[in-house]
Amino acid sequence: MEDMLQFILDRGRELGAGYVEARHHRVEASEVMLKSGTPEASASSQSTGIGMRVLVDGAMAFGASNRNDRRSLEAVLARMVRSARGASERRTDPIEFADANLGIASYEIRPRVKFTDVEVADRQALLMEADRSAVEAIEGTGVKLPGRYMSLETEVTHKTVWTSDGARVRSTVPRASMFAVLTAAGPSGSTQRMISLGEARGWECVERWDLPSTLAKEASTLAAILEQGKPFHGGYMDVVLGPEVVGLIAHESSGHPGEADRVLGREAAQAGETYLGKNDGGRRVGSDLVNVVEDPTLPYSFGFYLFDDEGVAARPRNLIRDGVIEEFLHNRETARTFGVASNGSARSMAFDREPIVRMSNTFVEPGDHGLDEMLEDVKDGVYVRNFMEWNIDDRRFNQR
């Protein structure tokens, strides 16, 4: 495989590219699903291929193929170089890359319990136990769970990133995640709850999640909402937001707006724009207590990585420090435009997706209050622990 990556780097340069990047990317994934207690088809996939990027005369092209023979890859490379050259003729400003701290490294998260050691029947049995546990938890109440959807996915991602200017990074990261939607219904109506969990570990994290207990608690809460919930008057009031909501706000209102490609308008027709401008470093957007951090280096976190998909070393990024915008998320292209160094935010989810600027783990740093202390200060307000509906405007300025 490394021969192939070297071939791509060499051939890309021969075809006229000033920069060439080659990423061998393999994802081995497995999923089990349960629909209202009944197992759906178990699924597994292995996506393997090579993603490539070239910079030709100031224009960029990405290409990918899973036909891993030299002739096929060379054909895609030639298309890429031709397309980039065509695009470069009408570009007014050439794309350039910032210098970066490129890695020559290999890293891996070793699972304590390998996913391959857990049979599909055991995975399904776990979901079925969780499903039963949720249903049984509210027996005797006037509430039922007419709709339950649960899925449990494991994946191992292997990446090898080589660039023509010297990056040589290999990584292996396992991830487990679960997703569930519970629909509870009773005489007063219905309500729903979405639950998602994820970590970059082996099966041991799934065991720790204790899904039967977790789902039973969630079902009980839904029953209590339907049986004891009171109509709410609405209006302006103090709120205490639980970590799920605060995390969402950090992700959607700080993380996404701070993606430098979005700041430059690259996502305008797809993922949208941002309220932040290129010169908004130093702009106050929150109180002194607000510190939002983006940190891919947290061991075992779902967004974990040590080098991005351009081979740049990752590091924690302070998006908001003491309420003030401190830095954006950059790849090498946006870093050059902003006149800074890349902070290692180029990410790609599959071999056939170009690396773009995206978040990893985004969170608000804790303060010095306990939950009870915050609740004590609220005379007439709401404690919001989680959410269903959520959306945000195009500039990511206001959300609900």
């Binding site: 629909k35 996939s45 960029m60 990405f62 899973n66 170009e354």
Partner: protein, 441 residues
Amino acid sequence: MRAEDAARAALDRAIGGGVTDAVVTVSRVRETMVRFSDNQVTVVNELDLEQGSVFVTIGARKAAVDIPDLRARSIRAAVDAALSLARSASEGDARVPLPSGPFDYDPLLLDQGKVDGLDAVDLAHVAISSALEEGASRVAGSMTVRDADTILLTSGGVDARVRKPFLEMSVRAFAATDASGHGLSVSGSPAVLDPAGAGARAGRLASLSMEPIHVDAGEYDVVLDTMAFADVASQLGRMASAFMVDAGMSFLGDKLGQQVASDMVTIMDDPTLVGTPGSTPCDMEGLPSRRNVIVDDGVLHTLLHNSTTAARHGTESTANAGLVAPHPFNLVIGNGDQDMDSLLSQVDRGIYITNDWYLRYQNYATGDFSAIPRDAMFLVEDGAITCPVKEMRMSDNILGMLQRVEGLTREREWVRWWEVDTPTLTPAALVRGLHMSRSTM
């Protein structure tokens, strides 16, 4: 391996492995996607992919495995993995045999041609120029050109090969930070692609929406142009999947035979329209595709089924099988007899919404949702557009909203983009009394 040999090898190995049923797909996709922003091309994506999938049942045990490439050893490994998964899986819904073929397919749907000679970079520049000519200052978007060649084999005797192009121009233009418009041209045939028209619409809407004002929250009569109405109306197609109903994630769960929309609203899934974005000769079980009227004059006529969900619901498949869940392919919303001016003329004080995004549910089972208008939006007074407005949120119930449709245009457009997954041919609509909240304080 050649695609047809790979598909046959996979099916033979699955059958030899003792499956009850098997479905194999193998596809070759060649795609160019040009992304542009700030009036110039930012990146060109060139994809050349060969991959597939194998779905097997052993009794009531099911498994689906992707075939990552067409090497003989990859095919063997994928099929063996599927057999192993199915053997060790728990039993699901009672086993239902696959439809028994072979079937006759519409030859025009089997071979819908190829995209030849189109320069996606040029098309992107056509859209950019058109938007700028209409007064935009900044233009972004993407142009996708794809050729797919897919083989479907099943143990039920199905043997189909589908060649199909897909083209999507999505262009967004800005005349100011808060003045934008979006245009689309989506097609299953290069002959009807109109990047200049998409760019011009985006540019024109951007120019018209300069200096928007705030208006109060409240109930408004609204005219939803095609992009916005496609987002709302296509929810019925999505929620008509029996899989969503069985998972408790559909507001159509107990509504068969009931009035779920105004009697003006008819929604079909029609993959039989040759040359349209979501057309296909057959579903993933090999059943010949057909036009299914989901909502007929406002009444929920059918859910969308594969063989398994159909058996569970005591009915027949509607030929909407995906690999796991049934889904719509190509939604068609029935048109009305009015033009846009006529719809607007019926509004005393309301809002004209050209696009929206982030439609999200408070409760899938009831259809309570909100969505955010994006791009040009206008206040309508005494039947005419008076000024652009901004920062509103639609906050209502899908079924309640569709019950209040009181007018549809004659003209329809295909919509598919970031927000709307399933290609949807839709008119614009007049909806009475839509609850709109302010999205800023």
